[in-house]
Symmetry: C2
Subunit: 334 residues, 2 copies
């Protein structure tokens, strides 16, 4: 359990016991010199060629396969990038065995020092939201692991705010208590995001109404550097909205999906960063984690899927450094 | 697997193989003569006095306890009411062991002939929504159980539509294929539902925008009686909106939370029903499943928690029959 309330002093002075989620996130970003998040969406059909053959073709076997695969991804990226995001849907699709695979892979990622986001977009009314918050954000001191943790051992969760503040506050309270984080959906990256999120009321679209409430909710949960443990999901595929939201949501970390396979470029995500290269983490799922399916990488690395992922991670880090202020996260000697 | 495409002929002629979700739901309602849904939200602290003492105080023990409890609830209510709704949050709060308890309890409820709703309010973009849909709504023929089913063996799921149609269609397609159901959040029952759901644009509140899209989406998935496999969650705590939505959403089954502990009365839910007493199922969680915590029932049944739940179920059935058209679901001889 985190007990010491020390803060990050500067980009080159990071204390061992950092408690506020935003501080931990910033420390991770500085340490790696980039704001990349690897999105692990383990679609069985996208696993490396022949990978599934080593496992039984039932849910237990497939769940074991995605656990082994996920740990293999973590082993590659933990040295390079600060954050990993697990997409709950692909684990749940395998039933309870899949849930167990998610838990074990998340634990492995935390042990490797990564910040782990559970991408479950959870939402419910007050007392039920509290149960979700306890599931993912509480610190469970009953657990006998090396480090006390919640049932799911993650650092942050994504939530959907359609139910309003009594569905959001339980997540914030739990996160405030356990020094974890929350990312609220504001502007999603999918084509039909516009259907409801762009409905205009009182002169502004719905996503701006949500954004403004996120800023209000975030206020009580800021660290000494001004960042809140409440962040926002803002898609890379709508760069204008990303720029608009960056200016209206100071001190709110953005989790930016949509880079890569969904069509967002490094130039598209550039507005998410402030002058110091902070303020956002950029997620890449398929383009990073399934990089070995790119013919040129398969050939180059002779089917070594982990080296292909490593290649793609370096490529993305360089791409962001070239086109965004994320280049300023690197120390002069890098 | 359901292969015969027979339909419900009348309220007294229900065929064995009913395929469309709405037909199955209506058949269940007619068979029981009431539209009650028991909401199983297994809060460990609300279990019967002494119940947890028979189990180890770790997540495995607590998960076993809520599985035994949930099956005990099902054994009582399966004879009386048609639908049971499992609140995912309380199971997930126990980690993968909890997920397994949910799966086993849901399977038990289906074996007892109940229609099972997974209340997870899931939502995500296209390909990820598809993974959720496959998790909860697909028919998995690989599974070696008596009856092929999805990974989670449920009949319907609740979803949140903030991401628009490409986040909703995968659920509808999977449900259409497997003859299962979907309930989309339209108007939730919590106090802060108003914060976003009542934002007015183009002369109507957001929940009406969502309702209108639900009607559009539902169109392609109607059965011969006109009901769609896509239903809507509309809270009992906002009776005016319930009446308004009933009139604008014909052929859409409502899942109505908020009766009982949250303050909704039978009179409040009356507008959810049509003249035949169809069109809605009314959920009761705490008031039904934890009825043994009511002092007068604890005394009356000498701590027999199952008899207390049975009492509360009869009470709710009678309450709805007295104040709503649900009384018309009873055959003359009842």
């Amino acid at each position: 359990m985190f007990v010491v309330s020390t803060r990050v002093k500067s980009r080159f002075q990071v204390e061992t016991y950092i408690v506020h989620f935003a501080d931990r996130l910033i420390a991770g970003i500085w340490k790696c010199g980039n704001p990349v998040c690897a999105g692990i969406d383990p679609r069985p059909q996208s696993l490396p060629q022949g990978f599934l053959e080593g496992f039984t073709p039932d849910p237990v076997g497939v769940a074991t396969a995605i656990r082994v695969f996920g740990k293999g991804v973590v082993d590659v990226v933990a040295k390079l990038i600060p954050v990993v995001k697990f997409q709950a849907a692909f684990y749940e699709a395998l039933g309870p065995e899949g849930s167990k695979a998610l838990q074990e892979t998340a634990r492995h990622a935390r042990k490797q020092g990564m910040i782990v986001i559970f991408d479950g977009k959870r939402n419910d009314i007050g007392s039920t939201a509290e149960a979700y918050a306890n599931a993912y954000l509480s610190v469970d001191e009953q657990r006998a692991d090396d480090e006390a943790s919640s049932a799911w051992e993650v650092d942050a969760i994504t939530i959907n705010t359609y139910l309003g503040s009594d569905g959001v506050n339980p997540f914030l309270e739990a996160a405030g208590h356990s020094e974890k984080g929350v990312f609220a959906l504001v502007r999603t990256s999918n084509p039909s995001a516009v259907e409801f999120q762009d409905i205009v009321a009182d002169g502004k679209p719905l996503y701006r109404h949500v954004a403004d409430r996120v800023v209000d909710w975030a206020e009580r949960y800021r660290d000494s550097s001004g960042y809140s443990l409440l962040g926002a999901v803002v898609g890379a595929t709508y760069p204008e909205q990303l720029a608009e939201l960056r200016s209206t949501m100071p001190g709110i970390f953005f989790l930016v999906p949509g880079y890569g396979a969904q069509g967002g470029s490094a130039a598209d995500v550039a507005p998410a960063f402030n002058d110091q290269g902070l303020g956002a983490i950029v997620n890449n799922s398929r383009g990073l984690v399934f990089a070995y399916n790119r013919p040129e990488l398969r050939e180059k690395y002779h089917g070594d899927w982990q080296r292909a992922i490593e290649h793609a991670a370096h490529e993305m880090i360089a791409d962001l450094a070239e086109h965004t202020h994320a280049r300023r996260l690197r120390s002069p000697g890098d």
